[in-house]
Symmetry: C2
Subunit: 348 residues, 2 copies
DNA sequence: CTGTTAGCGCCTTCAA
DNA sequence: TTGAAGGCGCTAACAG
């Protein structure tokens, strides 16, 4: 069971009694194309198996200038299950074309970002997914402008890099429709705000919401500002309720805000759905709240998958690489990725 | 702004008027060792900067048989912020030694796992982190036994691979101490169970809990079995409370269980901390509940970082690579990674 | 149908 | 203090 020297293609060729070239063709599945005889083919495959041959991709990469490896640069990939789902989707899509993912978390640090990008480019990645935790505008580092890149959850107005974004506007309208379908067109309040410069989701969700309510002859009654987290939302809504107002519905700008709203309502002995609550995110949290929160999901996994597809797509299909693709946000999140992708394919 | 041919080391050398050898030495920081003159050194560095030289690691790897890249194989890396924190810790630690991470999510599929491992080995990763979402026993694939590997959050009884685990037993005792310090030594119930074969956390947490309570002259009053999630815990405890029993404390086997317990208590108009609740995980959820949940954190980030350190550690320090390292679990999770690592360093 | 030859970009002995 | 030469393992023209 001792470990000999690394097994090389030449070793396989020698054992099979052929040249390295022939072995290379066969092991790369080009036997047919090269019209190699069946016995030779088999001898080589057997030799490879017996020797436990494993191609050295460093050598191959040096020769072919490709690595079948994709870099993922993101500010906070792993933080929370929000963006990490994007990785899962990208990873699954990468697998379809035998690519592997190399990750780099920049922690929002520009210097670190540059370093990680350099490291990836030195390692000859075939492309880079540039992803952000929040949907927003960015300025991608210079070094990326000359590379094959797809933006995920962000856009760079200063470049024409392809991007994949959730359809926030449509999501806002969906939220409105949920309220309208429940017979509620007035006394609907939005909870949250989007204070970060460059942030996109908040504004678009609100716009869609307003538009949707007006379409139904209603109107958004107001916005309760607060940071997008449980405690700030709880405090803000709690205080707001003290003023004695009686809302018919709350549209929360994310699930954590909704949790805070649930708590604030509970303090006042108010109950969902006597007051209707709708939210955005589609996180696990929505399923944990009682009653279960209706939440419009950000399809992180699909976004990752779609971005990956666009990145590795053959050049021929690259015509629309200049476009921004938009992935629909849907209520709930029961569906599996393939299911939802079927719906998606009609739209992009 | 057009894109020329790739810039090679020779290009830099030519431009600086030296040989590739000299340029190589200088750019790899060996000028001093090779006693290269200052002017030469500067000329080469300038040339590299002007040309935007970026070393081709495929070539270097082919020559040196190292990639400064580490593979991370895990069942569900990205799922939830639980295990993804491990990635963050590992990633940060990797950066310290200029390593990059390559990820592979196996989704618990053995065939896929083998394929991903092969792909990584073909890409010549310098080592592999083998991580699991839940703390448990595993049997690592054959292919890994001959490689440099560190297990994270799991152990393989059939091999002597080094591993990093959270100290679940101590965590159980900590939970007991929290109850005891609050003056509660009886009528304490544990909520949850660990039905997965090979799972370690549940049993160890319970054992530590029992031991800790007995040390203080108390005893664990019982265990309410349920799956480790919000709804099952809510249902189980809700029903259990119907029997009219009046607990003094609940030790929940994770934070989601605790959320379910909060809900069940609330239904019966019972309030925390009239009934004391302690939990394990240290997830964000703990900070969202009202009142804030006391939770003993699984230090995923530290585990990832420590495992990474052990993996890239110079061979000299590898003497203890056979050991299982244990990372303490602590209450709350306000501390930054460096802070907590200081506490950690005494223990491993 | 298969082998010969050359070279991807880099590092590293050896010689000067 | 620097340069010349060789080879890591693989693929791709080009012969035959």
């Amino acid at each position: 069971m001792s470990r000999r020297r690394r097994v090389t293609l030449t070793d396989v060729a020698v054992r099979a009694g052929v040249s390295a070239t022939t072995a290379s063709y066969i092991l790369n599945g080009r036997s047919a194309q090269m019209r190699i005889s069946t016995p030779t083919d088999e001898r080589v495959r057997n030799a490879a198996a017996e020797l436990g041959y494993r191609p050295n991709r460093s050598a191959r990469s040096l020769r072919t200038a490709t690595t079948t490896t994709i870099g993922v640069i993101s500010d906070f990939v792993a933080s929370g299950h929000y963006a990490s789902q994007m990785l899962t989707g990208a990873s699954a899509a990468a697998r379809e074309s035998d690519h592997l993912l190399m990750i780099g978390e920049t922690e929002g640090d520009a210097a670190l970002e540059e370093r990680l990008i350099d490291e990836m480019l030195e390692r000859q990645v075939d492309g880079i997914l540039y992803a952000t935790l929040t949907t927003r505008q960015v300025t991608v580092p210079q070094a990326l402008l000359q590379q094959r890149v797809v933006l995920v959850n962000c856009i760079d107005p200063g470049s024409d890099l392809p991007a994949v974004l959730p359809d926030e506007l449509q999501a806002g309208r969906t939220a409105a429709r949920l309220m309208v379908d429940a017979g509620i067109t007035s006394e609907v309040y939005a909870v949250g705000e989007d204070p970060t410069p460059g942030a996109l989701s908040g504004a678009l969700r609100l716009e869609g919401l307003r538009y949707g309510l007006e379409e139904a002859g209603g109107a958004l009654a107001g916005v309760i500002p607060c940071d997008w987290d449980v405690v700030p939302a709880r405090d803000a809504v709690s205080q707001w309720l003290c003023s004695g107002r009686m809302p018919r519905g709350f549209v929360c700008l994310n699930d954590r805000v909704a949790m805070g709203v649930y708590q604030a309502l509970s303090e006042r002995r108010l109950h969902v759905p006597d007051v209707a609550v709708v939210s955005f995110d589609g996180s696990d949290l929505a399923t944990w709240l009682q009653p279960r929160l209706t939440s419009i999901a950000v399809p992180y996994d699909e976004m990752g998958a779609l971005a990956m597809h666009r990145l590795v797509e053959p050049e021929g299909a690259a015509r629309d690489l200049l476009a921004v693709a938009t992935v629909p946000m849907v209520v709930g999140w029961g569906g599996s990725l393939p299911d939802r992708r079927a719906a998606l394919s009609r739209l992009v």
